[in-house]
Amino acid sequence: MNGSLPKRIWKWFEHTRVGRSIFRVGLPQSNLERAQAMVSSFLLHVQPAKVNRHSLRASYSLGLGLISLYLFLILIVTGVLLMFYYVPSTDHAYNDMKDLQFVVSAGLLMRNMHRWAAHLMVIFVLLHMCRVFYTGAYKRPREFNWVLGIGLFLLTLGLSFTGYLLPWDQLAFWAITVGTNIAAYAPYIGPSLKYLMLGGNVVGQEALIRFYALHVIVLPAVAGFLIAVHLWRVRKDGGLSRPDEPGDVVQQVELSQLPTSKTYGLMELARGTTPQVGRNPEEEVFSWPHLIFRELLLFLFVVVVVLLLAIFKNAPLEELANPIHPPNPAKAPWYFLGLQELVSYSAFWGGVVVPGVLVAALVLLPYVDGKRRGVGRWFARERLVANTIFTVCLVVAVVLTIIGTLFRGPNWSWQEPWKKPPTATEGH
C-alpha cells in the first residue's frame, strides 16, 4: 500500500462490501478496469470507454459545449434553491428579491450565481454554435444534431427571457414589455402570440405566473431532454467531428439493403462513424482518466468563474415594477437589443423578417451546405465562402447588439456611453 492517507482510506473503502456494491469497479488500475469504470457507471456510460485523441484537443473544441452544459447544471442547482424563497406573485416577487439580499443566508450569492451563469450560458451557447460552424462540424452525419443545437440555443434565450421577468422590478417589467412587443410585430399571429405569452394585453400577474411556469419546469425539462439527445448523438456519431483520414472510409449500412432472413449481431447494425474496435487503435485513448479528468477540471474552472462573478458583482435590481413610469429608453434584455435596434428602423423587417430568415437559414444550413469538405479544421480554406457569410452576419448582429446596449439613450436617440445623458425632465 502506498499513496497519501486519503487515497489509502479510499482504497480501503472501495474494497469493503459496501464500497464494492456502490462503485463496482473502484479506482481503475488496469485498462480493463478503465473500460469497466466507464461502462458500469450510470453517470459515465453516456461517454465511450475509449475516445479519439482529437476529441480531447482543447484547441479544437475550446470546451464550449461542455461549459454550456455546466452552466445549465449550475443554473438548475441555484434555481431550485431560489425557488424555495420565490413566490411568483406581483405582491411578493420583488420583496422576495429584497429578502434574498438582506436576510436569507447566501441568498444574494445564489441569485448572483444564477444571474451571471444565465448570461454566460447565452454567450457560451452562441460561441459553441460559432465553433461548430467554423469547424464545419454540422456536416453529415451530424446535420440533425446541429438542428437540435439551434433548438437549444432558442431554448436558452427563452429560459433567459422568462427568467428576466421574475424579479418584478422596473428592469424586468419593461424589458419583457419591449420584448413581447417585438414578438407582436409578427404578421397575423403576432398579437395573438403576445396575448398568449402575457395572458393579457399588458405585463401583469398572469404574465408573471406564465413566465414562472415556463421558466422553472417547461423550458428546463425540454432543454434537459434535448441536451440528453444532443449528447447521445455526439457519442453515436463517434465523438467530436474530425477530419477524414485516409483509410477512414466510413461504411454506411443501409438497413433496407440487408436481407431480412438473417439474425444480425449488434456490431453488424452499427453505422456511421462510431469508433470501431481495431480501427486506428493508436489514436484512441481510455476515457478514464483522459476525458473524465479534463471534464472535471473544466467544471471546476467554470465554477470558479461563476463564483468570482457572483461574489464581486451583484445582480441588478431596480425599483419595484411600475406600469405607469416607463424608463426612457425601455430596453429588452441585452441579447435582444440587436433586434430592438433593427425594430427601431423597421418593425416588420427588423422584428419579423430578419430574425425569421436567420433562424430558418441556420436550421436549413446543414442540408443546403452538405458537402463533406473541410470538416474538423478551424477556418478550412475550402469553406471560405460559408465562413465569410457567417462572419458577416455574426459581426452585424454583435455590432447591432452593442449599439442597442451602449449607444442608445432617451427616445432611442444616439448616445455615446462616455457622454452624460441629458437631464431627465423629471427626477430627484
Binding site: K98, F102, L109, D169, P289, L297, L317
Partner: protein, 462 residues
C-alpha cells in the same frame, strides 16, 4: 502511461479545488459579515455592563444575535430597523448615539402597529445602513430628513387638525393662500394647467421641491409655473406640506385612528351636521336651541361630552336629537365649542356668510390667487401675453362684463391667450374652464365677490 501522465492533472485538481473551496468560504464569509451583527454585539456588551444582578447579566449575555423585524401586513411593510436600532423602546437609552438611541414613542403610534418606515420612510426590509436609510440607487423612498418629519403626520391626519404638526398646518395654509389650486389639483379640487399634486411628496425630494418653487424652469424645463416668492419659513412649510402628499391610503385600523379630536374637526362636524340650523353663533343661525357664543363659559367640557352622547341625560326635556357621535367626534365638537370665543370661527360658516364672503372663500378655495393675485390684484407674470405680459387683474371686471358673461367666462375659460409677439413661444398660462369642478352656487358667489372688487368711489363707465 497511467501515473506519470496523470501527475499534471493532480496539480490542476489541487489548485482549482482549493480555489473553489476558497471562493465558497469567501462568499460565505461575505454573506455572514453583516454590520447589524456588530451593533447587536455592542448592544449586548452595553446591556451586560449595565446589568446589576447576576440574572440580569445572564439574560443580557444570552440575548440572541438575530434579525429583528416588525411585520406590518396591512401596510405591506416589513421594518427591520430594530435589528440595529435595538433600544428604541428603552427610555434609559435616551441621549445615546445612534444606532442605540431611544425613540420617544407616542402611545397613539405603537411600534408593533406602525413600525418605523411609515413615518420615517427608508427601506424597511434592508439590513445595512446605506440600503435601509434608502439613499441608494433604485430606491424611491429615502429617509425623510427629521427636519420634515411633520410631513408624515399629514399622510393620515388632516393637516389643520394636528396640534403636534404646526408647520404642516402652516404649509397647508400657505398652499391654499398662494392659489396653487388655480393650476394644480389636490384631492380632486383645482385647475388643470399644472399636474395634480396628490402623489407629489412620494416622487420628489425636499431639495427638488424647494428648487422648483423658487425657479421652476431649472428643474422642470419648459415649466409654465411662475417663480414663487416665498419667505424662507413659508417655503419650508409648503415644502413640508407637499412632502405629506404621498397618495398613500391607510387601511382599516389606521383609518379608524385618523381623526384627531380637535377644534378643526369639531368645526367641520358642526358645519356638516347643520348645527347652525338650531343654534346661532354671533347672531347668525337658528333660534330653536340656545345661542352657543358663550357656551364654553356656561358648561364644562365633561357636561358637553355627556350631552353629545345622550342629550336627555344631562338636559331633561331637550329636543336636541341624539346624533350618535363617536367618542372622538364628541370630544372634537367640545373642543370646538370651548374655544369658540377665541377663534372667531363664525365667519367661515358658509350658511352664516354673505354671498361676497362666500365668493371670497371660493376665490381662495379654487386658487384663483395663483394667477390673478391675492384679492384679484394681479401681478403674476405670463410671458409674452398681450396684457403687459401679466395675468390680468380682476379689480374692474364689473365694468367689462355682465354677471352672466362673467359666469360664462369662469365656466368656459379662455384657452387661447393673445401673444404680444407671435414669433416667441405662446404665453404659458391660460384661463381653464371651471365647469364640472366648481359648484353652481359657488360661481354665483364668486361673481358677487369679483363685482365687489371695484374700488369704492369709482363710477362705472367713462
Amino acid at each position: 502511461m497511467a501515473d506519470s501522465s496523470l501527475r499534471k492533472f493532480y496539480g490542476w485538481f489541487t489548485a482549482l479545488g482549493l480555489l473553489v473551496g476558497g471562493l465558497v468560504v469567501l462568499g460565505y464569509y461575505k454573506d455572514e459579515d453583516r454590520e447589524w451583527k456588530d451593533y447587536q454585539r455592542k448592544f449586548i456588551q452595553e446591556e451586560t455592563r449595565r446589568a446589576s444582578t447576576p440574572p440580569q447579566r445572564a439574560f443580557a449575555q444570552n440575548m440572541p444575535v438575530q434579525i429583528r423585524q416588525i411585520l406590518l401586513p396591512d401596510l405591506n411593510r416589513v421594518d427591520r430597523c430594530t435589528t440595529c436600532h435595538l433600544a428604541v423602546d428603552d427610555p434609559s437609552y435616551g441621549g445615546y448615539p445612534q444606532p442605540l438611541a431611544y425613540h420617544p414613542l407616542h402611545e397613539q403610534h405603537p411600534a408593533e402597529r406602525f413600525g418605523c418606515t411609515v413615518c420615517h420612510r427608508g427601506q424597511g426590509r434592508a439590513t445595512d445602513a446605506a440600503d435601509a436609510h434608502g439613499n441608494v440607487p433604485h430606491w424611491d423612498e429615502p429617509m425623510l430628513p427629521l427636519r420634515y418629519i411633520q410631513a408624515s403626520c399629514g399622510k393620515c391626519h388632516e393637516a389643520a387638525d394636528n396640534p403636534a404638526a404646526p408647520e404642516l398646518a402652516r404649509g397647508q395654509q400657505v398652499f391654499e393662500e398662494s392659489g396653487c389650486r388655480g393650476c394644480h389639483k389636490l384631492g380632486g379640487t383645482g385647475g388643470v394647467i399644472g399636474p395634480a399634486l396628490d402623489k407629489i411628496g412620494a416622487r420628489h425630494s425636499p431639495e427638488w421641491l424647494k428648487q422648483h418653487f423658487l425657479t421652476p424652469a431649472t428643474v422642470t424645463p419648459g415649466s409654465a409655473m411662475p417663480p414663487q416668492r416665498f419667505a424662507e419659513p413659508d417655503l419650508e412649510a409648503i415644502t413640508l406640506f407637499m412632502l405629506s402628499q404621498t397618495g398613500e391610503t391607510a387601511p382599516g385600523y389606521y383609518t379608524s385612528m385618523k381623526v384627531i379630536p380637535s377644534a378643526g374637526v369639531g368645526q367641520r362636524l358642526f358645519e356638516q351636521k347643520g348645527c347652525i340650523g338650531c343654534h346661532s353663533i354671533a347672531g347668525k343661525g337658528g333660534t330653536i336651541g340656545p345661542s352657543l357664543d358663550d357656551v364654553g363659559l356656561r358648561r364644562s367640557p365633561e357636561w358637553m361630552i355627556q350631552h353629545f352622547r345622550e342629550p336627555k341625560a344631562v338636559s331633561p326635556g331637550t329636543v336636541m336629537p341624539q346624533f350618535g357621535f363617536t367618542e372622538d367626534e364628541a370630544r372634537a365638537l367640545t373642543d370646538f365649542l370651548v374655544h369658540l370665543r377665541e377663534q372667531q370661527v363664525t365667519m367661515s360658516l358658509p350658511s352664516a356668510m354673505t354671498p361676497v364672503e362666500r365668493g371670497h372663500e371660493a376665490y381662495r378655495k379654487y386658487g384663483c390667487a395663483g394667477c390673478h393675485g391675492p384679492d384679484g390684484k394681479g401681478g403674476v407674470p405670463n410671458p409674452n401675453s398681450k396684457t403687459a405680459e401679466l395675468v390680468p387683474d380682476l379689480m374692474h371686471v364689473a365694468e367689462g362684463y355682465t354677471k352672466d358673461e362673467l359666469k360664462d367666462r369662469i365656466l368656459k375659460g379662455q384657452h387661447e391667450i393673445t401673444a404680444l409677439d407671435p414669433k416667441r413661444p405662446p404665453p404659458p398660462l391660460y384661463m381653464p374652464g371651471w365647469a364640472g369642478t366648481i359648484k353652481d352656487a359657488e360661481v354665483d358667489d364668486l361673481v358677487e365677490y369679483l363685482f365687489s372688487l371695484k374700488p369704492k368711489g369709482e363710477e362705472s363707465g367713462f
